[in-house]
Amino acid sequence: MEIAEELAKQQKAISVAEFFEKNRQILGFDSAPRALITCVKEAVDNSLDACEEAGILPDIFVQIRKSGEYFQVIVEDNGPGIVPEEIPPIFAKLLYGSRFHSLRQSRGQQGIGISAGVLYSQLTSGKPTRVISKIAPDRPAYYCELMINTSKNEPEIIRAEEVDWERPRGTRVEMEMEGSYVRSRRQSVYGSLKSAAIVNPHARITLVEPEGNAEIFERVTENLPKKAYAIQPHPEGIELGELIKLLRYTEKKRLRIFLKETFSSIGTITAQELCKRADLDPERSPAGLDHEEAVRLLSAFKQIRVKSPPVDCLSPISEELIRAGLEKEFRLDFIATTTRPVSVYSGNPFLIEVGLGYGGELTKEGRVEILRFANRVPLVYQQGACAITHAVESVSWRNYSLSQPGGSGVPTGPAVLLVHIASTNIPFTSESKDAVADMPEILAEVDLGLKEVARKLRRYLGRESLLAERREKEEIIRKILPRIAKKLSDVLDRPEPNIGPVVARIMGNLLVSRESEQQDGRISVRLVVENHSDLIRSFKLHELLGERAEAVSPPAKVIPLGDGYDHHWKLSIGPGKKATISYQIGANGKEPAEPVVEGLEPEIVTGARVI
């Protein structure tokens, strides 16, 4: 026998269950605390998906119980239930699911999650998973105990029976496994459910911890998220292999019909246009296209601009609910949110939503917390490997009033960032769904979303600091300075000093002061106008005198007015500069009234009346 033939005998197909049995880290079961979190997360995701599809407000009960040396994980929902024949494959067959072939946003995608939990449970505790499900109040509940036959990747039913169950409908799953329960950090069952509650404000989630302590994450809205509809693939970014596959297996007989019906956002006119550019007969059979023709068709896709995919395949959280979710879990002074328009990567529509919370009870030190979500599922692990984190790191936060040591990286300060990516197909870096891959289109959209909320934050902080400065100055001027002046006059036994000039300086005001002295039987008057602001001030200064003044410098315009004369000067004084005006009147002249300034706001003038 030839060596190749010898070797051929050893070749053997590997069951997917066996593969995952040996590579459990890929599915997120690499450590004892993490295994518990992943199991709970997968079960809760399924419950949320099922409730949303059935239009039911989710009410999910999670309990973690110590059972000997193992932990028991119980997740129960009020969803539509599962028909008995579907229960074994859903829970005990890997890669079995309803969503893999559909282009629609959902939490689960591949049909691995919960069956991986069942596999992990059976590997570590050797015990079967118990499932109860009921699909209608007048039907009995179905109970079964399941294990996975790993060499065949097929469910094995250990026991099955009809039972009574008090719930009208819903599903309950119980698994026992090795694990370790931690609290008090984000990477915990508590933390991941808290995050899930933020982006699923329509759900009520109850958690009973091993010590018996119960936490309820209450729902804040009765509105279900908008239902996401399945759509056809979008032509933008589609790959050649995918296109050839679609061409070969389509039932459509004509190319133009194929184009219109297989892809989203392509109408009759666009289909004609595509055929023309690819130099293909629109009436040809799609299956008959050869490789070179498929390449031409693909390049035609790239030449024309196809409109964005329809939004209704996606279900964003909405700005209003992001705000409500952040308000619910943090005490904040300021919240900014944004929803980006739908965009496309590799033919998959996606949409980015960003929320930013600031101030309140968030700690001032330390890095900003980033809450990452993909299709409403919190991403807890591998923050550093995620496109969302990378986009956060590459924004210049210093431009937006947040500190960022070294000018790059995650910013620091009392803020929290929430980024949600919704897509028919989230490009995760691995099957454990911890991190979103760095697709350029996604990075760009997250970047734009972050900058939008950051601009809102900058505006808010700018306003706040102006207000704070104003308040501080008001306090000095109204409360402190008069008291200092009063005390000084007490101590020194002198009249109270005039605080006007100091007030003008502190407020950056225009200060008008007038001195007069007797000279050779006449009164010499000197007006000094100081500009303490950092802007040029242009205005008119009026002196209402009982007579025409003499020796006026600089010259004034004089207008007779009833019983006197209005003298006025047009002045323009630069920042920090001053102007001096002098004139003389007769010794018997009436004491002129307060000088008058025309053309400025009253708040910025000290020592003169403003008209």
Partner: protein, 368 residues
């Protein structure tokens, strides 16, 4: 220095004048339209420099400005003016005084000028000392803590509120010794028969030395410094050293905190560097317990804690300890990882410290 007619003694007069000058400068700033402010030397470790003229540590040239442009600055100036009024009208004009703590409580009535904590009023009084170039004793402000007690062959005269009192610090005092007043400058030394001044950290050792008659046998003036020395304690040590020309030795526990006690007597403290010339005794010498004594006399010890070690290491980078003697001793102690109390000598018998250790150390230092 009679004080029968309030406000007439020349020191109070000068204090009042200096305080009024401070108020006047603020008043004039208002009149001239200048934003009212006070400049002060900045009181940080980085602004402490060695004055080779007096061999003490004093403030350098860095200044901080306190102006009414900020709420904090404005409030501090308001408090300064309130305090000025208190010191002039209540203290100096009526020849009365308050403790630092009392001043903090008095400010309760000052509305928004009230001190938030005593540390704040204490700091402001130090600032006023710097601005007016006076000492808080001149404003009749006294500390809470007791000053030192003194025991030894010294005759002195104290100006008290109830007249002049004369006493001898061995014959006219009880076992605890003569309690010095907070204002040491009210004392006048008359005569003495001493050959050295010994500052002693703990009450236990102070009592042991008196019981054993050490003060008589070695003609020593014993000063009980009671932990971190108060200003008055440092002042009397300084005066005994300069006016009576007596050598000063400091006898403390053998741990890093006690070395700092010695440093504040001999080199000065950061918080009161403006008073260094007044309070610091650069000629004071460290007697013990030295780390090398732990080895030489085989003393009972405790292990150094992490905090002790940290303190020793920070002393190695403290400019005040930057000389070969301290470097050798501190490094030795870090190696030993041990510390010893003064009273550890009792393990060798109650007379050991006075019959053996102190005579040996004093001879080694060339004092007897």
């Amino acid at each position: 220095m009679s004080s029968e007619r309030p406000g007439t003694d020349p020191r109070s007069k000068r204090a009042e004048e200096n305080l009024l000058r401070l108020a006047e400068s603020l008043y004039n700033q208002f009149q001239r339209g200048v934003v009212p402010h006070i400049s002060l030397p900045s009181r940080t470790k980085s602004n402490i420099e060695f004055s080779s003229r007096d061999d003490v540590w004093v403030y350098g040239d860095q200044e901080t400005m306190r102006s009414v442009k900020t709420v904090r600055g404005a409030k501090t100036l308001l408090k300064t003016v309130h305090l000025t009024e208190l010191l002039i009208d209540e203290h100096l004009k009526n020849n009365r005084g308050s403790t630092l703590r009392e001043i903090y409580y008095i400010s309760e009535n000052w509305d928004i000028a009230k001190f938030n904590e005593q540390a704040e009023s204490d700091r402001l009084i130090e600032d006023m000392e710097i601005v007016t170039n006076l000492h808080r004793e001149d404003f009749h402000v006294r500390p809470e803590e007791d000053g030192a007690a003194v025991f030894g062959p010294l005759r002195l005269k104290e100006q008290t509120r109830r007249g002049e009192k004369q006493m001898h610090c061995q014959e006219d005092v009880g076992e605890a010794g003569y309690q010095i007043p907070f204002n040491v400058d009210n004392i006048e030394f008359i005569s003495h028969d001493a050959q050295l001044v010994m500052a002693v950290e703990t009450g236990g050792m102070y009592a042991r030395l008196i019981e054993n008659g050490f003060d008589e046998e070695y003609k020593a003036i014993l000063v009980h410094i009671k932990g971190q020395p108060a200003r008055s304690t440092r002042r009397i040590i300084k005066r005994l050293n300069t006016e009576l020309d007596l050598p000063v030795v400091v006898f403390t526990d053998g741990d890093p905190w006690s070395y700092r006690i010695f440093a504040s007597i001999a080199y000065g403290a950061i918080k009161s560097a403006h008073l260094s010339e007044h309070l610091v005794t650069p000629k004071a010498r460290f007697l013990g317990v030295q780390p090398s004594d732990i080895v030489d006399y085989n003393l009972s010890t405790d292990k150094l804690t992490d905090k002790d070690l940290q303190a020793l290491k920070s002393e190695l980078s403290d400019p005040r300890f930057a000389n070969p003697y301290w470097e050798r001793q501190i490094r030795l102690q870090i190696d030993l990882k041990k510390k010893a109390e003064q009273q550890a000598f009792a393990g060798k018998g109650l007379d050991f410290v006075t019959k053996t250790y102190l005579p040996e150390r004093l001879a080694e230092m060339g004092i007897i």
